[in-house]
Symmetry: C2
Subunit: 320 residues, 2 copies
């Protein structure tokens, strides 16, 4: 792995490569964003086309002058030491690809790689909800459910760099809902945006008077808005989602005894609808000492959590 | 906290204070046990009577000469830095008691304190199944279900010293079985010795031909022996226990990505009856990369795991 020279007071070019969007920014050492970039992720079979898109973004930002390093986050399992994408289900062309080395060679500056949910946890601890904390768990409720675990200031990546798969903790083993991971009853099938829509579809026949009836292409956001208007179907879905999230968080609290759990991702917009149910499960299921200690907070960095975490990791030479 | 002087090549007096028995040993720096001691735990309301019992055991072992430190493990939450028992449900007279300081004052040598399941994990990594590993989870299936987590060679105690409550991970939230912790569906209500007996009692009406029928005072050991003889009731109970254990272990694998999980405690005697069912759940529920990596092993230190871990912690000044 190429190492960032911290002595230079340069900028970091951070990129968050999602299944849908490539978002990037040049960021200084205080976390201030100087330039932003967003485009659709190239839907390609060749990893080099993704490298080219990131290189083009760097040039659009003004080139490598003044940039100390490129720091990239991807939605998948990463070998951090080697800068290799091990497995990225939504970007399969990257599986096994030496992405950090390819970027570093093309740009002539160091490049590092991290999992997106891990980076989001680091971002929230650097600039967001968990400033001042040392031991946090970050849960990202998006299309799927991701997680990042920071223990005593250090990212816990596990022995294969694949820890913190919080979305695939089982919270209802016999509930019957199959997960894309091959298991069933995972937190992801109850607390992701995808799950909110699926549960609404499943429950909708029981709520003929719902204002959601007759609409097409439900999104989690639409269902949340219906809930804000008091729609019983939407309220039931967010109740259910909050119950399962609370069960999962209680497990994490009993296993890891963290200072804080930060909840981010698009679904966190539904906070007012699910918060009460989530807290109730934590109160019923986590050890009182631990439940009283842990703070459960909404993420504050929004879509920038991963980018900011990427910057922080580059600045720290991955000490975290 | 008093610190052990490692430069002395003395013995460690280790004591494992259980709800039922006080077991102790003088152990050298290679883990060799020189003297053993066992008595019933004093059933008292005064913590000083427990201190006196440990002091008496030290004197029975030949006194403090040659002993570098006393290292004590207890079944409860411990503040390691202060040497205080925070909460010990089976030894409530110790709640809030400065046990390490009390022992150190009476004996004139340093004393340290640790949770018993944490110490068992350290013992298994020093002298047992996990020799050579750095990142392990130890699950102890006894009267209850305890846990110890070692990450990169270091015990993970959590911010309040109360992490690794693996027995209180929820594996069946709506299964209806209440746990002593106040929650329901915890791993402990399916995988402890107590749970084996309870599940047998609950299922027995459906197995009128079981060889267990007509016997009184079932123990997990008796039920295991019936299972070895092919008894259908006993086999069903260990199948069920193995399924829930496997669900819990798959969660731990997905969350922490460990090298090894070590399973100890009396119920591990039923290994041949539950192993297959446990592995099947792990295979179905854990991420394939992580499931292929992790070794699931029986503990090898038996009842001495906690004592040996106590010794190791004293020798390392708690670096682990």
């Amino acid at each position: 792995m190429t190492i960032v020279d911290n002595k230079k007071h340069g900028l970091i070019f951070a990129a968050d490569l999602g299944g849908t969007h490539l978002r990037a920014a040049t960021v200084d050492q205080k976390g201030k964003i100087h330039f932003r970039f967003k485009q659709n992720t190239p839907q390609v079979k060749d990893a080099n086309a993704i490298v080219d898109a990131i290189v083009a973004a760097v040039h659009e930002a003004g080139g490598v002058e003044g940039i100390s390093a490129v720091s990239l986050v991807v939605p998948g399992t990463v070998n951090v030491q080697e800068g290799v994408v091990v497995k990225a289900p939504n970007l399969p062309c990257l599986d096994g690809f030496r992405l950090a080395a390819a970027l570093s060679e093309k740009l002539g500056i160091p490049a590092i790689l991290e999992n997106d949910a891990n980076a989001a946890a680091v971002g929230e601890m650097w600039q967001g909800a968990a400033v001042g904390c040392n031991t946090i768990i970050c849960v990202t409720l998006g299309t799927g459910v991701g997680g990042g675990i920071i223990l005593d200031g250090k990212l816990w990546r596990g022995v294969d760099g694949a820890a913190a798969e919080i979305g695939h903790m089982c919270v209802d083993p016999f509930g019957g809902v199959a997960c894309t991971c091959g298991s069933r009853g995972c937190l992801e099938v109850f607390a992701s945006a995808t799950a909110i829509v699926r549960m609404t579809r499943e429950a909708s026949p029981r709520y003929p008077d719902s204002i959601l009836q007759g609409q097409d292409n439900w999104t989690a956001e639409m269902i949340f808005e219906a809930g804000q208007q008091g729609d019983e179907l939407a309220l039931e879905i967010f109740r259910r989602m909050g119950v399962y999230l609370g069960i999962g968080l209680a497990n994490l609290i009993n296993i890891l005894n963290p200072e804080m759990i930060v909840i981010g991702g698009g679904v966190v917009n539904g906070w007012d609808l699910f918060e009460k149910h989530m807290h109730q499960q934590i109160e019923e299921r986590a050890f009182p000492l631990l439940a009283a200690r842990v703070k459960i907070e909404r993420a504050r960095c929004g879509d920038d959590a991963g980018l900011l975490g990427a910057v922080r990791l580059a600045l720290l030479d991955r000490i975290t």
